[in-house]
Amino acid sequence: MIETPAQNPEPANEGGMTRRTALKALGATLGAAAFAQAIAPLTEWTDNLTIDEYLQKHYKEMSPVDMAMVIARLQTETKEETGVDVHIGDYRPQPGVKFGYALNLSVCVGCRRCAKACHIENNHDRPSGNSYIRVLEMQKGSLDLAKGRVNYDHAVPDKEKFYMPVQCQQCDKPPCVSVCPVEATWKEKDGIVVVDYNWCIGCRYCEAACPYHARRFNWTKPQVPAAEINPDQGYLSNRLRPQGVMEKCTFCLHRSRQGKLPACLEACPTGARVFGNLLDPESEIRWVLQNKRVFVLKEDVGTQPSFFYFFDE
């Protein structure tokens, strides 16, 4: 008889590795790698990251119950860290409201009280003197922002100069939102561009994308003396920020969404600032837009700001 190979199926593998074993090993390796990849974020676990914080969902995916628990947790943490009882509200956009802000450059004297009020209202880091507002001293007859000086230090207003406070323009086409890789920043229905500090990864793409230099980065954990903490806080606005996240002007949404004027407007001694609802034809902001010579900053970049500047005649 002639022996066929079929009758001796594994003639060459005695003492070697079978295909089955090889595939098992390969599968096990891939599986282990996938598992390691899946739990990789855990390697970034730090002492100041709690389980709840780690498992927190995106702002838009949280139910009211989730949100209440998050807020309770944040309030408790603030109490433990600073000893201050704060109230953090989750203020939502009001229907029929789109916020607009206008600034009268003929009236602004450059006293920087708005920047200071922002610093206090929004619980900004004290050592760095952070504020969402930067006041530029500009040469009359020019709108070249690059030539604006921020660190002027003399009696104001100088007759040869005008003063231009710049803050977040709450653009309708915000470049900062489109560059965010994790959707930690977005535009709300009332026009305010917000940041979820618990979702932000701190990559600072938005800071680079903003043509108005309106975004700020928390290089350190913001330090505010307990006695100076503003306890009226909003989840998306002035609550105490963690280290390593972006922040920006929110038109004081913890105030404006409750009908109040923003802190920078209240601080303005000359009334250079006009704030209101763009959808209300009777509002003062609409009167300004209809009756004053209004312009926006860097119109050519197509951001469509909700922040307007004007001169008196």
């Binding site: 206008a102 004297v109 450059g110 109040k260 006009v274 009167w287």
Partner: protein
């Protein structure tokens, strides 16, 4: 062929033109506003949820005496304490003519007005409008509005003068400054301020460094 224009067509065109002209006139110059409406709009702001800050009805200024009363409070005297016995000098305040005995240290820098342009010679507890009628000190805006039209217009539309409170008047009240909260009526030019809160962020530091470098080499061509 000669076209004949009927005479009634000419009349019709004339009548239309007259009516149109009348209509344009009424549009260009609306009927003079009733004074009481203007008073109501300026003195009592349109919404009830809006209060001028610190000039309540019945407010009357007092002249400082430099004397302190038993409780340590500065004692002032009402205007009529002296003015009821003195004859008004119409020229006071105009170009260098200032009271010799009283109101020392008062600034007179308001467009060459006489004191009695604004103060009422018969009742120093009131102000005097241009047509001679009295206005209370709490309605000082009325007086200012006589000359400062654009500012009054902007004030009435919320784009002149500081404010506090609520933008949404259905939710709360708003407090507004009045003219004399910020402008000294005797020297109304807005003063210069010392800016507060010098910036310390990266941009400010970079600018300081740049300017320092520029100052060291003033002749070098400078490129940012």
């Amino acid at each position: 062929m000669k076209r004949r224009t009927p005479i009634y067509a000419l009349f019709a065109v004339l009548a239309l033109a007259a009516a149109g002209g009348q209509w344009m006139l009424t549009r260009a110059r609306p009927a003079a506003a009733d004074h009481s409406t203007v008073v109501a709009r300026i003195a009592v702001p349109a919404s009830k949820a809006e209060v001028p800050s610190n000039r309540p009805p019945g407010y009357r200024p007092q002249v400082a005496t430099g004397v302190v009363d038993y409780h340590g409070n500065a004692a002032g005297v009402a205007c009529m304490t002296c003015h009821s016995t003195r004859t008004p000098n119409l020229k006071n305040g105009i170009a260098g003519v200032v009271p010799k005995d009283f109101h020392q240290g008062l600034a007179y820098a308001h467009g060459g007005q006489s004191c009695l342009s604004c103060h009422h010679a018969d009742d120093y507890g009131s102000l005097r409008l241009a047509d001679g009628r009295k206005a209370a000190f709490s309605e000082a805006q009325l007086l200012c509005a006589q000359c400062h039209g654009p500012q009054t217009r902007d004030y009435l539309h919320g784009s002149h003068g500081g404010m506090n409170g609520y933008w949404d008047k259905t939710k709360g009240a708003r407090t507004r400054n009045t003219c004399t909260d910020c402008h000294d009526p005797h020297a109304p030019a807005y003063p210069q301020w010392t800016p507060v809160f010098a910036p310390r962020d990266g941009g400010a530091r970079q600018q300081a460094t740049r300017e320092a470098a520029h100052a060291e080499t003033p002749n070098a061509s400078h490129h940012d």
